[in-house]
Point group: C2
Chain length 398, copies 2
């Protein structure tokens, strides 16, 4: 049986932790598993390297930053291979270029174009445990790239997709929860979740797994398991396709995203160029839009969007410095975005009504609202976060 394991930075932060994972991998190998172990950089290595870079250049080039950061994962995988060898296990490390991860040339957030797993397959056939560096790839021209946030998860899922085997992602949380247990201690660990729900949870701030790796897993039907590193028994969450299970509950979980802002434009005359001018302003400020609302009332356009607090602040400063006349934006900060996610929403009606009735009953004002087929998102003032989560978790029995 083939299997991909992925271990995050905190799981490989010390040589003791690396040894412990090596022992687990050695056990699996002895049981006959053909194992690929994907590792991130040790603990705070990446942050340390970024700090070094900032000392020589406040705005380092992304190509050089990628070359620098890629060394962190190479260190972990060679140490992991040595640890396995010390246990009598035949193991070999692979860097991004060795494991054939060809990417495009968008440094710091490259996309995988192709994976040449010939060598990896050969090592597995020879009975080796393959220890592959996460997060990194190489362009066709031989430049080192990195895959961006959560890149090691993407590496692991991509290898599993190529090998046609399951992927187990180990971190320092023990499962995906209905709600962040730090905010709602009564939250339940989910045994299963659909790819779609996990993607919504991820993109809406659950922070367990990046959307991109879940998307990749869905596309190639990779069975994903999320659990705590070296857990004695599997108490984590399996991400699988929607068809596999049926949840009677309309809402699977609530994801929480903090430090949000809403930026509202003053009403403008409606014409073809009004939206265009807004978007060029936003694009110029390099803002990642979150929710977008546009209503047309009495021939006027009311446009607003949500983004991070930080980006709202940057936009405000840019507008102040701009020589062109800028619209008088209304920016509301210190908001929290809550998102209720559940594939059941598609079939259960009335979820939105129950959400907003619950908020009204608790006298919690809510702002911008967006919905997808399997989610409802809205922003509230951050001081209402606990109260809102508590009330909604009870309402939907999470």
């Amino acid at each position: 049986m083939r299997l991909v394991h992925k271990y995050g930075g905190s799981s490989v932060a010390t040589t003791e932790k690396i040894m412990a994972i090596a022992r687990r991998a050695a056990e699996l190998r002895r049981q006959g598993t053909n194992l690929v172990v994907v590792c991130s950089a040790m603990g705070k290595t990446t942050n340390g390297l970024i700090a070094l870079a900032k000392k020589v250049n406040p705005a380092p080039s992304k190509r050089e930053m990628d070359a620098l950061l890629s060394t962190g994962e190479v260190q972990t995988v060679s140490l992991m291979a040595m640890a396995l060898q010390s246990l009598g296990v035949d193991a070999i490390s692979m860097t991004g270029f060795q494991s054939g991860f060809i990417t495009n040339d968008v440094h710091s957030k490259a996309f995988i174009k192709e994976i040449n797993t010939q060598r990896l397959e050969q090592y597995l056939a020879e009975g080796k445990v393959v220890v592959a560096a996460g997060f990194q790839g190489i362009t066709e021209d031989g430049h080192i790239t990195t895959l961006g946030r959560g890149g090691s998860d993407t590496t692991a899922v991509a290898i599993a997709a190529k090998l046609g085997c399951p992927c187990e992602i180990y971190t320092d949380v023990d499962a995906v929860y209905t709600v962040d247990p730090r905010i709602y201690p009564a939250a339940r660990a989910l045994k299963t979740i659909s790819y779609e729900e996990m993607m919504e949870m991820a993109s809406l701030g659950a922070g367990v797994l990046e959307t991109r790796s879940v998307e990749l897993a869905k596309k190639y039907g990779v069975s994903l398991y999320l659990g705590r590193t070296l857990e004695p028994e599997k108490k984590g969450t399996t991400v699988m396709s929607q068809q596999v299970f049926f949840e009677d509950m309309p809402v699977t979980g609530i994801s929480i995203k903090e430090h949000c802002a809403i930026v509202a434009f003053p009403p403008m005359d409606y014409n073809a160029s009004s939206a265009a001018s807004i978007f060029s302003l936003i694009a110029g400020a390099n803002i990642n839009l979150d929710m977008i609302n546009q209503n047309i009332i009495d021939g006027k356009v009311a446009f607003s969007f949500s983004c991070s607090d930080e980006q709202a602040l940057e936009l405000e400063q840019q507008l102040k410095q701009s020589e062109a006349p800028a619209p008088a934006l209304q920016i509301r900060r210190d908001l929290t975005q809550l998102s209720l996610v559940g594939v059941g929403m598609a079939t259960h009606t009335g979820v939105a009504v129950r959400v907003f009735q619950t908020l009204a009953r608790c006298q919690i004002p809510y702002y911008q609202i967006t919905t997808s087929e399997i989610s409802i998102s809205f922003t509230i003032d951050k001081e209402n976060k606990e109260k809102a989560v508590q009330a909604l978790a009870e309402e939907f029995n999470l």
Copy 2:
């Protein structure tokens, strides 16, 4: 004009030092130099990585060790490229595989088979400062290798050989001296030295430059300069071919190698297998032989060799543990090997006589002696080191 600069680990130990070297390189670039900067790993990085490796595996595989250690140089070169970019200089870093260093597969001391400088040439033609990682290469199968001790010097010389340009090697010593100034403060810095002499000095323990890189420089006629990092004016040593200059002096310098031992075998009957059995014993103990003496007296073979103290100790322990009957070796430790080097020896006769008369006059006993065309080496007790160096330096006006 094309030029290769090489900076050792202590010269790039901090980001401040990296910035200082970047400023120097930027200045050279502005003056029109097509510059390649070869860097070692920062300060004690390599030692730190070795210590990490030993924690997970007391005897790590050389393949994994090479992968691990190669990250040190990659970190330096990406930081150096960023530092240059912060000064407005177009710069690009290259790892071993990117700069096309194809080696054989002898991990930890690989030999260069071929260098594909196409990409490096292209970057230089584009006006970029190329910052190349020293010490590392890649096999034809894509495994990461390292070039062994002094490997970054070899990288620098090899690039200079391919580009047909001079190579300047910067360290924390300001020149090659006639004698180690810590032992003989009156020693003179050499303006020039021949490749042959430098090779002898290097292999005999001068520690400034590894023999291998000098050999390579000689083979390809690369002009080598050795000097102190960021020296305001050139006070270092130029290594050049013997024909270029003529020294009236028979001895150019004395090199000193400490912690030596002499291992003597009891006289054996002379037959074809006696030498073979000695060499198989030595090979089994993985000893680097230094000087070898074999005399045949009265049909008996007297065989002895010198090696490091450490290796003599290891050999002794191995023989104790061995089940086969072992010869009763006589091991003399705590010796110092002195070597007088000079191309003039080939034409000046009587150097050996002057050496041993000087030692006799000072009542310094000497042991094993070997000579080459341009050197005389012998071992003495370590407590006689200063006295012998002093007397010989005065005798030969060093």
